[in-house]
């Protein structure tokens, strides 16, 4: 029991941060003092009414920060789920079926691997209507390859192990073996991968927004930094405008990644493959 408490304490900060972000994302209306589109006087310095001041359009920066959590996290998590979903399916099939299927799936994976992601999204954003959906789909569709590779490698290793051979001897179907026998063993590699993809999607979203390549009307931390940059937040030394969203992104990514390492470390001891 003692070690589990120790671990909990070590990762309490990460868990707390993630908890706060999730609350911000789910019920922003209860935390933020104002709505995201309510307007006051522009470029106000922090005061009791607006603890982080207001931006160029007179919106309360603290309220924006709270409301932005939803989209930033959503883009990260949904594209993470999408990427890892595709990755696991491709990896499982590739490793399990082997032969020509392995060649086909791995060829596909290598192709995705060499695609330059950010430039590709920039080009796509220029032609298609930029928005959260496009970001999620493109980030998801372009970041599954590392997951697929790890999963395939693990499947190749596990498929010759006694318990998988036994399951085949008992006449279990391939679908059963893949989902019930192999998938649980893969969790220690899937979960960290999912978290890393999520974190990198959050960063990608911020970078694209900062470059002005996403929907300017959407509210995310990346867009906030971009606004501060383009609407003279930096020139006016309004650090309370760009610093909070930056910190949110950094802290969010750090918290998520540290949880991933926690999971990885614990399961390594349990399952030594």
């Amino acid at each position: 029991m003692i070690p589990s408490i120790k671990i909990a304490r070590k990762y309490a900060l990460s868990a707390l941060l993630i908890g706060i972000f999730v609350i911000m994302a789910t019920i922003p209306g209860y935390i933020a003092p104002y709505g995201p589109s309510e307007r006051f006087g522009g470029y106000q310095t922090p005061s009791t009414a607006h603890i982080m001041g207001t931006d160029d359009m007179g919106r309360d920066i603290f309220s924006l920060l709270v409301h932005a959590a939803r989209l930033s996290l959503l883009i990260g998590v949904v594209s993470g789920v999408l990427a890892i979903g595709i990755g696991v399916i491709v990896g499982l099939l590739s490793g399990w079926l082997g032969g020509i299927w392995d060649d086909i799936f791995m060829g596909l994976t290598d192709t995705v691997l060499i695609l330059p992601k950010i430039p590709l999204i920039i080009v796509m954003a220029a032609y298609l209507e930029p928005g959260p959906k496009l970001l999620i789909v493109t980030l998801g569709l372009l970041s599954w390859e590392s997951g697929a590779r790890v999963v395939r490698a693990k499947v190749l290793q596990v498929r010759t192990m006694g318990f998988v051979l036994s399951a085949r001897c008992f006449g279990f179907s391939s679908a059963y073996i893949l989902s019930r026998e192999i998938l649980p063993v893969l969790f220690p590699v899937i979960v960290p991968k999912f978290v890393l993809v999520t974190a990198s999607a959050m960063i990608a979203e911020a970078s694209l927004s900062f470059l002005g390549l996403s929907d300017p009307t959407m509210i995310s931390w990346g867009v906030m930094i971009s606004d501060a940059f383009t609407h003279s937040g930096f020139i006016r030394h309004m650090w309370y405008w760009w610093l909070p969203p930056t910190l949110c992104i950094i802290l969010g990514v750090c918290a998520i990644t540290s949880i991933a390492f926690l999971y990885e470390g614990r399961t390594r001891e349990l399952i030594q493959l």
Binding site: F163, F170, F187, I271
Partner: protein, 228 residues
Amino acid sequence: MLILHADCIGKEYRKEGHKDLVFSSFSVDVHMGETVGLVGPSGCGKSTCARVLAGLEKPSRGRVLYRGKDIHTLTRAEWSQFRREVQVIFQDPVGSFNPTQTIGQSMTAVLKHVHVPGDEHENELAHVFHHVGLQMEILSRYPDQISGGQAQRAAIARGMIMQPRVMILDEPTSALDVSVQAQILHLLTYVQKEHKIAYVFISHDIDVVEYMSHTIVKMQEISCKMKK
């Protein structure tokens, strides 16, 4: 009565363009209730041979016949009968259980698979566990929490649920200590006597094979001959 028969089987793998021969023209007859011992040095393809006999891999040449029929041309019903009646016990006893499941979960999965109703699981497990000399408390443990001997007993118990006619034992005692090896060999002899199961006993240890087998087949690298 002849139950499992390998007819000049051979296996080769495609490896970087050229073919890598594992073993060739190997024949063996397995009779009901008897033990065939398979000995040879490591690297002579014993384990591959076990997987081919168990239908886990297709032979590159030759045929494996179960009750007179080529196992790779069986109908669906015949195949599922074959899968039920031919079981394999592997060398690494702990590795033959899924590390993420308790022994009980692994057992129950097999019981469900053979359509044993849920309320009979307890009875059935108590029956097979008593048979192989295991305590029921093992059921709640994970594979890495039990000893090699216990895991091998549990693996035999799990195989018994299927009521097999043939058991292919691939080095079942090589990972075990001497005294545990003796226990498992005795258990296997007892199970065979009770249920008239045919064994294919594969080992590198000639003493063990001689002790267990009615007939012995020696495998050598590449070429395999019949003896005795």
